[in-house]
């Protein structure tokens, strides 16, 4: 049901009945290794290319989510997902293996929440029984596409971010036990004329703030309604800029209420510069870590704001600015946990 201009309220309360997250070796050494259901000690996953490794991770995440749910693969109605590689081949190839009707999405690092919002909408309107929703990214595959070869010895500025190697997905159902998806606000593309591809956080912050403000206004709730506002991959700079922008807009958000997946996955001493990023960043952060806070009652309501920078290597070389987007989805602890 649409409220306001761009917010959906899901009256049917779609439930996240299970999740699956996969991570690479660098993530295993991070701050929250327990957030990953499957961890690999090899960047290649014994595959011939990084792209195939990414496909493999997506498949494993989906299989794990299905295995840990009461349903069979054949009962899944749709698989809605995306990634960062050119024609989202890792996701599409994974969809081939999974063999479920498939929607491929691209919203850069905001894909995870775009997918969750659409999945919840489809379930809310009785368009499906079970939906697999997620996203994936691979550090080396993304680096080689957007920046330089992996082994190239260029110096990155302190504003650069580290793409997460991983995949995260959730199985969304009409009924069941688990956290429920209550509403979603679809983001507008915001372009503040930022041109530095090594400073994504700074470019994406206005999009995140725009979506958060729109969400609160359209749902007519105060920021204190949510226990946590979780952004996807703003990093140190983006988080700080967003906090200040929110305060400037009269939103009294508390420092510890505003967390970022990109800053939660890695330890401070890992060389990730401004923090983690990539389309897997928000997916593994939410489906691996923050969902557990809802399950064990540490948080009751969270608002997930996944941010994405919609540029390509070509558009950056052609001196276009970086347009950004953010989608917000609110997830609440299910009635069984309350």
């Amino acid at each position: 049901m649409l409220v306001g201009h761009r917010t959906w309220i899901f009256n049917q309360k779609p439930v996240i009945i299970s999740t699956g997250t996969v991570g690479g070796p660098f993530e295993a050494k991070g701050k929250i290794p327990e957030a990953f259901h499957i961890l690999h000690d090899d960047m290649w996953l014994k595959q011939a290319s990084f792209e195939k490794a990414q496909q493999m991770m997506m498949e494993e995440a989906c299989q794990y989510a299905i295995k840990n749910s009461p349903i069979q693969k054949e009962q899944v109605t749709f698989f809605i997902s995306g990634d960062l590689i050119n024609q989202i081949t890792p996701t599409s190839f994974a969809a081939k293996t999974i063999g479920v009707p498939y929607f491929g999405l691209f919203n850069a690092c905001a894909t995870s929440m775009e997918s969750l919002a659409l999945s919840a909408l489809i379930l809310n309107s009785n368009g499906a029984e079970y939906i697999l929703s997620g996203s994936s990214s691979h550090n080396a595959a993304t680096e080689r596409q957007f920046r330089y070869p992996t082994e190239y010895g260029g110096q990155k500025p302190p504003t650069a971010q580290w793409t997460v190697t991983g995949a995260g997905c959730c199985l969304l159902a009409k009924k069941g036990t688990g956290p429920i998806v209550t509403s979603a606000t679809i983001g507008k593309v915001v372009d503040m004329g930022m041109t530095d591809p090594f400073n994504m956080g700074g470019a994406m912050a206005p999009a995140a703030v725009d979506t958060i403000i729109a969400h609160l206004r359209e749902r007519n709730v105060d920021i204190s309604y949510y226990d946590l506002i979780i952004t996807g991959d703003l990093g140190h700079i983006g988080r700080e800029v967003s906090l200040d922008l929110l305060h400037d807009n009269g939103i009294e958000i508390k420092e510890d209420q505003f967390v970022d997946c990109g800053l939660s996955i890695y330890r401070e001493d890992q060389p990730v510069l401004a923090g983690g990023s990539g389309s897997a960043c928000s997916a593994v952060g939410i489906y691996g870590h923050f969902i557990n806070l809802l399950k064990n009652g540490e948080a009751k309501r969270i608002l997930v704001v996944a941010t994405g920078a919609l540029h390509s290597p070509l558009s950056v070389q052609q001196k276009s600015s970086i347009p950004c987007i953010a989608h917000a989805v609110s997830i609440e602890a299910g009635s069984d946990a309350l």
């Binding site: 290319s49 070869p149 992996t150 082994e151 010895g153 700079i237």
Partner: protein
């Protein structure tokens, strides 16, 4: 130029840019320069050792030792790049490891490794000089321009 670019932006974007810049972590330029100076100098020192070694033990002169020294340095770079060490040195040293010939070698070798999955001809062959190609092109072109200037000065300038 940066100012000219800025003027084309709408006022809100200009304001945001300034707002964002205040919160951006700056590149530690002085620290980077010092690191680059010492790492770059250290690479050159190794190069000097190698050439002295070649002159002392083999039949090379100061004029002819340049090529084998360069080749040895590039070989070492190749090993370090293959083992994934050179990019870490690069992140630490910046220009210090990019400017010497080892940086050039790294840019060729890393691209060759990267595109191995696309095959030898279109992958490795086609992409090996993706980063180094412009160095070769503009290096050769500027050498050409400089030699024309030199020729003109010698022929007609009476130098």
């Amino acid at each position: 130029m940066a100012d000219k670019k800025k003027k084309n932006l709408p006022p809100a974007a200009q304001k945001y840019k300034a707002f964002q810049q205040k919160r951006e972590t700056k590149r530690p330029i002085l620290k980077n320069c010092v690191k680059a100076f010492f790492v770059g100098g250290f690479i050159c020192l190794i190069g000097q050792f190698i050439s002295t070694f070649y002159i002392y033990f083999f039949d090379f002169t100061e004029q002819t030792v340049g090529n084998p020294t360069t080749a040895t340095l590039i070989f070492i770079t190749m090993i370090l790049t293959g083992f994934g060490i050179y990019d870490r040195i690069g992140q630490f040293a910046g220009a210090g490891s990019a400017v010497p010939v080892t940086g050039f070698g790294n840019s060729v070798i890393s691209a060759a490794i990267e595109h191995r999955t696309e095959g030898f001809v279109l992958g490795v062959g086609g992409n090996m000089f993706k980063l180094a190609g412009s160095v070769i092109l503009f290096g050769v072109f500027s050498a050409f321009v400089v030699s024309i200037i030199k020729t003109i000065l010698i022929q007609w300038g009476g130098l």
